[in-house]
Amino acid sequence: MSKKELIRRIVRSKFFMLGFILVMIIVICILAGPRILPHDAMTMNLSDRLISPQWFAKGTNGYIMGTDALGQDLLTRLFVGGRTSFLIALFAVLGGSVLGTFMGMLAGYYGKKWDTLIMRIGDVQLSINTTLLAIVIASILGASVANLIIIMIISTWVKFARVLRGEVMMIKNKEFIHASRVLGASNFHIMFRQVLPNVTTPLIVLISQQFGQIILLEAALSFLGMGVPMPQPSWGTMISEGRQYLSTAPWIVVAPGIALMTTVVAFNFLGDGIRDVLDPKMKH
């Protein structure tokens, strides 16, 4: 696809434009935000507890979105928490997609025993509730960001494996794969040099969608106390902390809640948009 066509498709896809812009805004905010704001995310400042959002009344020196129960600036915590969430999601998606793609390709390409084995492992795993899994692993390995990433990887690889398996199964019987085989290519060569380039589109779309899902999952685990350990901020823990102040200081919950929602929606849009751009077959 030529660059011209690519740009044309990008501009035409509302999903892509919206999703991409939103994601960029979020990323810029969480990266640059804490530098701009003078507050620190983790220092307690009990004299400034539960201040309602001042918006821009005092500029960046004020508490733009108010403070929480420990006097910490909510907006700063939002940004820093976002960094944590994104970092976890990044590694988790990376790990999950690599593991899932590998397993999915094995299952789809070799089929039969490999397929049964891998898919059944996946089934078993899915049948165990992720939260329960997280609790079990956390209790064995201890609660930390690294362990959280491991838990996330475990919970996403199956989705990647499933999708990739389906794609590979469709491709492996195409004649160009037979042609490679007749030329003497090894299975490895075929899987990675012939099949893989053809599955990049669904893979990228899935990565984008899963990013949002993992952020949501991490927030849920953190909300339950199984996620990012205190005092590191995370949107989930912020929501959890803010619960008891819901009627008195709702901004403590609302801010991270909106951030979460916007992020998930942004990544969903982006995922759909990428699909539109790379594979517009289903249109009209």
């Binding site: 037979h178 030329l183 003497g184």
Partner: protein, 321 residues
């Protein structure tokens, strides 16, 4: 004439059966034997379910055989491992039917043509380029197409790329599996002419699989007619088309509607459907639809026997002779 030429490929008692869950066994290829001589083109014709494509796939190692041999250079190619087969990939190649799915949509033409050399680790980048250039020269692919993707080419050009790819490793034998069936009529001629040219230039041997009898007649020296996994007739092209012996061959030829107005043909219309090769009954496979069928036809399977000079038929009508 053909007896003097060296035999390149010997197919002996080749069998390919597929077990079908809950239904029994599908006898796709059921004990066929024939030889292909160096430089000749053997056409393999038949309707759907006759097994002709399966024969091609087994010869190329894409499917394991249930029994029998495919002998090339004194080696049985059937059921070899990939490593054992590797040297023969250079000798035996294939051109596929569908120009839309036989080229990787994510690779450029140059990458597609270079793949063979990458797999067999032939030469450095420049040498590979030189070889690709050679392939494009002999098949008429302009260098401007090197950077294009398959979807940017029309069906005919894609098929030419498929042919060039098959020639990469200097094969002596090429299985052409319905190479023009998916192409528009006016483009078929180009591909047929190209295949004939290359055959002359490079001394190639073809197994030309097709359901299109006119095309097969044009390109083949000898023709084998298949029906439900068996060869029912094998002879020189002119003999098959001018004096077919097997009742199925007659019916098949009669069914080809041609535009020649000078002949007012009476067509032989076969009743019923083309049967499936699952759990066939004993006896000749064609007996249920044959207008000459006798009792023996439903009991004994006729063997492929010579009924004329180089003309083999599998039919009880000729067994007495």
């Amino acid at each position: 004439m053909n007896n003097e030429k060296k035999i390149l490929l010997e197919i002996k008692n080749l069998k390919k059966y597929f077990p079908i869950k809950g239904k029994g066994t599908l006898y796709a290829v059921d004990d066929i034997s024939f030889n292909i001589h160096e430089g000749e083109t053997v056409g393999l014709v038949g309707e759907s379910g006759c097994g002709k494509s399966t024969v091609g796939n087994v010869i190329l190692g894409l499917l394991p055989a249930t029994g029998g041999k495919v002998i090339y250079d004194n080696i049985n190619l059937v059921n070899l491992s990939r490593k054992e087969r590797l040297p023969y990939c250079k000798k035996v190649q294939i051109v596929f039917q569908d120009p839309y799915s036989s080229l990787n949509p994510k690779k450029t033409i140059k990458q597609i043509l270079s793949e063979a050399f990458i797999i067999h680790k032939v030469g450095n980048k420049d040498e590979v380029d030189g070889k690709v250039r050679y392939l494009c020269d002999i098949t008429g692919i302009e260098e401007a197409l090197w950077v294009k993707y398959p979807h940017e080419l029309d069906g005919g050009k894609r098929q030419v790329v498929g042919i060039a790819r098959a020639l990469a490793l200097n094969p002596s034998f090429i299985v052409c599996d319905e190479p023009v069936s998916s192409l528009d009529v006016s483009i078929q001629a180009k591909i047929i002419n190209l295949l004939i040219d290359l055959r002359e230039k490079l001394n190639l041997t073809y197994l030309f699989i097709s359901h299109d009898l006119s095309v097969v007649r044009h390109i083949s020296n000898r023709v084998a007619v298949m029906y439900l996994g068996r060869i029912v007739e094998l002879a020189e092209t002119d003999d098959i088309f001018n004096s077919p012996k097997h009742p199925y061959t007659e019916a098949l030829l009669s069914a080809v509607l041609n535009i020649d107005m000078t002949q007012n043909k009476e067509h032989i219309v076969l009743e019923g459907d083309v049967p499936t090769p699952i759990n066939p009954k004993p006896g000749c496979r064609f007996a249920p639809r044959c207008r000459f069928a006798k009792d023996i036809c439903f009991k004994d399977m006729p063997e492929l026997k010579e009924a004329g000079e180089g003309h083999y038929v599998s039919c009880h009508l000729f067994s007495e002779k």
